[in-house]
């Protein structure tokens, strides 16, 4: 496709351009081949040959028609900077500004390399090489092949593929960053006191586990039958429950605070991307906490192995997103008061933005607060029976993340979550008017938020 144009016959080129026009005018999806029925195996008939020929032909023509680029008028040029391995857009323009890149003081937009790749591949920006000697003009345009050659390692290439996959689905994706956090800055900072107390807490919590089992070992011997008297069947289950050791999974903000430890690069598995559901009101500078977090893993690389339990635990401890068990997604007040951006509360930052006279009109217009508040009314929430909710909890788990598995170009997403079977009283029927199990976590978190 990228042969020098003078090597091609003229009508060949012309045909190409007309098909571009056709794609632009018609609905683009209408020109794509559809996935049809498949056969079991080749049987040597002409019919099958014909069908295969058609399927391939549709595929090839789509590939050939898919020319990347932009017209002169709406062209946005991005320059690759080899020093920082990122790209700069001197005159940024387009929808992507809303969710991608970072502006500098001169009004230029800096893109991460994978963002640059993604935009170039879909034809939104024209990739060029940034030349440091300014004495000669003329850009050096880059091809897609050139850009792929600029990947530093396989992990970067895989991360880009996963990023593109998510972007094509419409999600907002950014690199995971400690600047955006549920946890107050004091907690995230690795002050020795804090880490020590964290460690102490962890040791204590494991001891309390063991204490419980030691206690059980003592209580649960044959003599206990002579000592204990069971007057109802729940009592039997309750004492049985004590016999089984189980890990304590954080359910509340307080427990999350205690269990949190920020990720460090020495971990073999790390959260790579923060992912938000598509949201037209997304603020690049003041994002909400992400809806999902994604870790990436190349199944075939011999330098990586499937994460062990310990590695998974480290990832769980570092998770930092909109935990759905703390508050509803729509409870903006709670989340704004529990989101720290560069160490400052999001609510405070939003307020500062609003009180700034320059932004007054803008901020007011974009504030969707009232409907959100209405949603907060607890009675208006869609209620599910406690039994159903209980069935859902072990399935959904509490903290969770997505593991994107790369298999030679095919990406699969697996959701990995901490299920808590231990604290579910499956036999227990709450007395009427006493829904202790479902209401408990919510009540505690709202206290912390206040």
């Amino acid at each position: 496709m990228s042969l020098p144009a003078n090597d091609l016959e003229e009508d060949e080129v012309m045909q190409d351009w007309s098909s571009i026009a056709k794609l632009a005018n018609d609905s683009p999806l209408a020109a794509l081949p559809r996935r049809g029925e498949k056969d079991y195996e080749p049987d040597g008939t002409d019919l099958q040959e014909l069908l295969l020929y058609r399927a391939r032909d549709a595929m090839y023509s789509t590939l050939e028609q898919g020319v990347r680029g932009a017209v002169v008028k709406s062209r946005v040029v991005a320059y690759y900077d080899p020093q920082s391995h990122s790209a700069v857009v001197p005159k940024p323009r387009g929808n992507f500004l809303q969710t991608m890149g970072e502006s500098d003081a001169q009004g230029a937009l800096w893109l991460e390399f994978f963002e640059f790749m993604y935009l170039a591949e879909r034809g939104t920006v024209t990739p060029c090489w940034k030349r440091h000697d300014d004495n000669n003009d003329g850009d050096i345009p880059l091809s897609i092949e050139d850009m792929y050659a600029l990947f530093k390692d396989q992990q970067e290439m895989d991360n880009f593929a996963i990023y593109s996959q998510l972007k094509r689905l419409g999600f907002i994706v950014q690199l995971a960053s400690p600047a955006l956090s549920l946890y107050p800055p004091g907690l995230a900072a690795s002050s020795p006191v804090r880490t020590a107390s964290n460690a102490l807490h962890r040791v204590l919590s494991t001891v309390s586990h063991y204490r419980m089992t030691l206690f059980n070992g003592f209580m649960y011997n044959q003599w206990s039958w002579y000592v204990r008297r069971y007057t109802s069947s729940p009592q039997i289950y309750e004492s049985l429950n004590k016999l089984i050791q189980c890990a304590a999974v954080p359910h509340t903000a307080h427990q999350l605070y205690n269990d949190y430890s920020p990720q460090d690069s020495s971990q073999s598995l790390n959260i790579t991307f923060n992912v938000w559901k598509p949201n037209p009101a997304f603020k690049k500078k003041l994002p909400e906490l992400p809806d999902f977090q994604v870790a990436t893993y190349n199944k075939n690389s011999t330098q990586q192995s499937f994460p062990t339990y310990k590695e998974l635990q480290a990832v769980f401890r570092s998770l930092d997103y909109k935990f759905s068990f703390l508050a509803r997604d729509s409870d903006t007040e709670f989340w704004d008061n529990n989101t720290y951006i560069d160490g400052e509360l999001r609510s405070a930052k939003l307020e500062a933005l609003q009180s700034n006279p320059r932004n007054k009109g803008k901020a007011k217009a974009s504030k969707p607060a009232p409907p959100a508040k209405k949603m907060k009314g607890k009675k208006k929430q869609r209620t599910v029976s406690p039994q159903v909710e209980q069935m859902r909890r072990p399935k959904n788990g509490y903290r969770s993340f997505l593991l994107a598995v790369m298999d030679n170009g095919i990406i699969s997403f697996a959701k990995i979550s901490e299920a808590d079977f231990g604290s579910e009283d499956v036999w227990y029927k709450p007395a009427p008017g006493q829904k202790n199990n479902t209401a408990k976590p919510q009540r505690q978190t709202s206290k912390i938020a206040a």
């Binding site: 496709m1 990228s2 144009a5 683009p28 794509l32 498949k38 056969d39 195996e41 080749p42 391939r56 789509t62 590939l63 050939e64 898919g66 020319v67 990347r68 680029g69 932009a70 017209v71 002169v72 008028k73 080899p82 391995h85 993604y118 170039a120 591949e121 879909r122 034809g123 024209t126 090489w129 030349r131 003329g138 850009d139 050096i140 345009p141 091809s143 897609i144 092949e145 792929y148 050659a149 600029l150 990947f151 530093k152 390692d153 396989q154 290439m157 996959q165 094509r168 689905l169 199944k299 075939n300 690389s301 011999t302 330098q303 598995v405 298999d407 030679n408 170009g409 095919i410 699969s412």
Partner: protein, 295 residues
């Protein structure tokens, strides 16, 4: 036609083999090598079902193509950015000029095409093309030209003109390529798996990555565009010495049967030098397992 596979080097590593040319992709498909298309399709950017170049190959596919003489490699020593910088220091003027020429050439063709289209449209509408000497129309014409200039298309080419020069400088010595391939296989797989791949490929199967079905590969009886796959192949297992976990057997066979595939275990039968056995074919044996659901 020998297909060109791009191998990008990183810091002591090789990145996954890629193919950028659509003609090459066609050729590979007739050979039963399908790879996975991974790039965003510019004409439909909001979906993941139909993707575009580059085609990412399994290392085994690249190896098989190379060993059977269907492909050659464009190897780039990493990091590429510094190599490009070095090249630009010497030849930036030249490259710039070539790029500019290409752009102007494409503009010229587009202008001709657009004017032709414009003329045809006017003819259809029955309006006579105003001759250029007509004075009052010249203002409108210059406006039209301006509009047309703004609507010219600038293509981001798929294939590189710069990298070829770097590749030429890097040289194409056999020993170097062989070493790169060894690194590639060691990094993403092993020779036993390659032997499985080769044996199945030579049986006429088309193979693709199999993690979605819990295996190393899945095998199709023909082009995956038209046929369902029949086999899920596990990583090579020397079953004479190595144990097979029963739970894995049950899980693999049950999953395979549920999706109407056989679960396959295979291994090279003789321990031999990797390079020798890569050329011979009759030294791999397979077992297939099916969940009978009897009784």
């Amino acid at each position: 036609m020998s297909v060109c596979i791009t191998l990008v080097g990183g810091a002591g590593t090789i990145l996954a083999p890629l193919v950028f040319d659509v003609e090459a992709i066609k050729k590979l498909r007739t050979l039963g090598i399908c790879g996975i298309l991974t790039g965003t399709l510019p004409s439909a950017t909001q979906q993941n079902v139909f993707l575009s170049v580059p085609l990412r190959l399994m290392p085994e596919e690249a190896m098989w193509l190379y060993i059977n003489g269907h492909a050659h490699f464009k190897a780039l020593p990493g990091p590429t950015a510094t190599a490009v910088e070095r090249l630009l220091e010497e030849e930036s003027e030249e490259i710039c000029k070539a790029a500019e020429e290409r752009l102007q050439q494409s503009f010229k063709l587009q202008r001709e095409y657009k004017l032709e289209q414009h003329r045809k449209k006017l003819e259809q509408l029955g309006i006579n093309q105003p001759s250029k000497e007509d004075h009052p129309d010249s203002a409108r014409q210059s406006k039209e030209t301006k509009l047309m200039e703004a609507s010219l298309f600038i293509e981001t080419p798929t294939m590189s003109t710069i990298l070829t020069k770097i590749n030429d400088k890097f040289g194409d010595e056999q020993a170097k390529i062989d070493r790169l391939l060894c690194i590639l296989v060691a990094q993403f797989s092993n020779w036993d798996n390659y032997l499985l791949f080769q044996a199945l490929k030579n049986e006429g199967y088309v193979l693709s990555p199999g993690a979605r079905f819990g295996g190393k590969y899945i095998a199709y009886p023909g082009d995956p565009l038209r046929f369902h796959s029949h086999l899920v192949i596990r990583d090579a297992l020397h079953y004479k010495n190595e144990p097979l976990d029963f739970l894995e057997l049950a899980a693999g066979a049950r999953l395979g049967t549920t999706v109407k595939k056989l679960w396959v275990i295979g291994a090279p039968t003789r321990e031999s030098d990797a390079h020798d056995s890569a050329k011979t074919q009759d030294n791999v044996s397979f077992y297939s397992v099916e969940w009978a659901g009897f009784g």
